[in-house]
């Protein structure tokens, strides 16, 4: 199973964030998603929104991006950026500087049908989504256009909350897996959730809980990552 950890860029502050990146590297996390804070994160729950707002009050968007070069030095495996469409759209030209170090971009408010056009403008790999609401034609469109994993959002709603899967959702995941890699995200909080998810998906993405552990301190964060990757 692939484990992906979502870290908000420079959260809670740059030095601790880079320490967390290093821990993820040492504990064999398979990929990182670095969140670029946005003023209106409509797909995020309270915890990640608060983290984004704290960072926005301390740093500029430029700072969040520049940290990516340092992340790349510390973390040897795959690296993604996760943010919102306006950041990518408004900073199209700047983003090109990061194409070499990024495996792809995840945009929380960019559905597959818009991503197909957007990808051409940005000239990079944009991750495609599937959800419990997706119809067969939506899944087919995601499968047909994916160059990487499909990010399957486990539930209706925003980041945070708890992990549960409807039987119909499991069927949809199975359908996607016949033709693409599928990673599950949203609501995965601990080792037992991750274990549950690994039975039906190729990987998991953990965001909110990682932020909560990092708030407690770097050693709590390390313990948490260990519990997932061991």
């Amino acid at each position: 199973m692939n484990v992906g950890i979502y870290l908000v860029s420079n959260y809670p502050k740059k030095s601790i964030f880079l320490e967390a990146v290093e821990i993820c590297n040492n504990l064999d996390v398979d990929f990182l998603e670095i969140g670029i804070p946005f003023s209106d994160p409509i797909a995020d729950g309270e915890i990640l929104e608060k983290a984004a707002f704290e960072c926005l009050s301390k740093y500029d968007t430029q700072d969040f991006f520049e940290s990516l070069f340092e992340v790349k030095k510390l973390f040897k495996k795959r690296l993604y950026v996760m943010t919102y469409a306006n950041i990518a759209y408004s900073l199209k030209d700047e983003l090109k500087n990061y194409n070499k170090i990024l495996n792809g971009i995840i945009l929380a408010d960019l559905p597959v049908r818009e991503a197909i056009n957007f990808e051409k403008q940005l000239d990079c790999n944009i991750i495609k989504f599937a959800t419990p609401e997706s119809r067969k034609k939506d899944l087919d469109l995601a499968i047909k256009n994916t160059k990487d994993f499909i990010y399957f959002i486990s539930k209706r709603g925003i980041t945070g909350g708890s992990f549960s899967l409807e039987s119909q959702t499991i069927e949809k995941i199975n359908y996607c897996r016949k033709q693409a890699k599928v990673y599950l995200g949203f609501g995965i909080r601990n080792a037992s959730d991750a274990k549950e998810a690994s039975k039906i998906a190729d990987g998991v993405i953990i965001g909110t809980q990682a932020a909560i552990e990092l708030q407690k301190g770097i050693s709590d964060f390390e313990k948490f990552i260990k519990s997932i990757t061991k």
Partner: protein
């Protein structure tokens, strides 16, 4: 998908993937609703008997003499609930019922759309949740009281500035969570496709009536139409009937306190292209993040704008400009004292623009869209006077 997703390069569906099936369902439901003769008749009857349509086109002689032009007012302030918002909420309420959705969520800034939504939910027996920024809850308390009386659950949103933008964020979060049972009754020509098209259609009655009425009075069309622009529904829907005619169209935005970012809401005049709340349009932003905005009128302080307005700006069909808070207040007091009509502070921007540009409009025949009445703004006016 059968309807156009974009207006030129503007529009689209920049929302979480979870909402895509719901947006498709809404588009299909809307197309079926428009074809259903019985549903359309029911809606049209209610627009007459419940909303009070057609609203008058009033020749404002005193105001005309004062500005040196011939000014007509399209009296949306006389529609039930005191603003144009009811045209859209009534139609979307019927549409939601037609689609079998029994829970309605909405955002509101000034509270006019919230009240109009709560009104229609009371009428049609729908559950109603209205998201409203904390700042707006405080400055538009009369409308909050009205919504509660009408049976709505008003949720005050503190996060990210506590204005209209925050209310839309929360409504979208609610929708993505409760998408199966819930219809998001969006209040302006903003948001992801098909909302701008649907709201634009449900409000287009304003322009159609105004066109018929001005022909009756003048035996010709007017020279100029002026309307205020926040999200842009009242402006687009009076403009839309005249887009192919030789009529000058002016959209007036909120210049607020000054042209410094954070002091105004003049999105089309001073913004750049960006993506917010599901659509690519002009946007007030800094470093790719949405800027804070200000206006004396709670209904105009929105950093985005409907995508068709961005298209009409770039194709130069409509002239977009702005007036400052104090100029809007001049419009507010001029109409109150000269005509005995207290306008909403939003609509006062259109009035203030005509006052500030007397030379440009000299001897022209003008329709100003009086999108709402000013009762809700008396607290703000009192604070200004003190």
């Amino acid at each position: 998908m059968k309807l156009k997703r974009y207006f030129g390069e503007f529009g689209g569906q920049f929302v979480p993937e979870t909402l895509i099936p719901a947006l498709d369902e809404l588009e299909e439901g809307y197309i079926a609703f428009k074809k259903d003769k019985k549903a359309q008749k029911q809606l049209n009857d209610m627009l007459k008997t419940y909303v009070g349509r057609p609203t008058p086109l009033y020749f404002a002689k005193n105001f005309s003499d004062y500005v040196g032009a011939k000014v007509y007012l399209k009296r949306e302030d006389l529609a039930h609930t005191g603003a144009h918002k009811i045209n859209n909420t009534l139609a979307q309420g019927f549409l939601a019922k037609f689609m079998g959705k029994n829970r309605i969520i909405a955002e509101t800034g000034a509270g006019q759309h919230g009240v109009a939504t709560a009104t229609v939910c009371a009428l049609l027996g729908l559950e109603c949740v209205v998201y409203m920024g904390k700042t707006d809850v405080e400055r538009q308390s009369i409308n909050v009281d009205k919504m509660k009386i009408l049976g709505a659950n008003v949720i005050s949103v503190e996060k990210s500035g506590g204005t209209l933008k925050s209310a839309i964020n929360e409504a979208l979060r609610d929708w993505v969570t409760n998408v199966k049972t819930t219809h998001y009754l969006l209040g302006s020509v903003v948001g992801p496709h098909p909302f701008p098209t649907i709201v634009g259609d449900f409000q287009s009655i304003i322009g159609k009536e105004a066109k018929r009425q001005i022909k009756q009075y003048e035996n010709r069309l007017c020279d100029v139409i002026v309307a205020c622009v926040g999200g842009g529904s009242n402006a687009y829907c009076i403009f839309s009937a005249f887009l192919k005619d030789n009529v000058e169209l002016y959209g007036v935005e909120a210049g607020g306190r000054s042209v410094n970012l954070g002091d105004h809401s003049a999105t089309l005049s001073l913004g750049t292209k960006g993506i917010l709340h599901g659509a690519l349009s002009y946007l007030l932003q800094k470093n790719a993040n949405v800027a804070s905005v200000h206006s004396i009128s709670a209904g105009l302080d929105y950093p985005g704008v409907g995508p068709m307005h961005s298209y009409l700006k770039d194709t130069k069909r409509v002239i977009y400009d702005y007036v400052f808070d104090n100029q809007a207040l001049e419009g507010f007091f001029a109409l109150s004292k000269l005509e005995g009509i207290i306008p909403a502070l939003e609509s006062s921007h259109a009035l203030g623009y005509v006052l500030a540009n007397k030379e440009k409009f000299k001897n022209k025949t003008i329709i100003i869209n009086l999108s709402g009445r000013g009762d809700k703004d008396l607290d703000i006016i009192k604070a200004v006077q003190q």
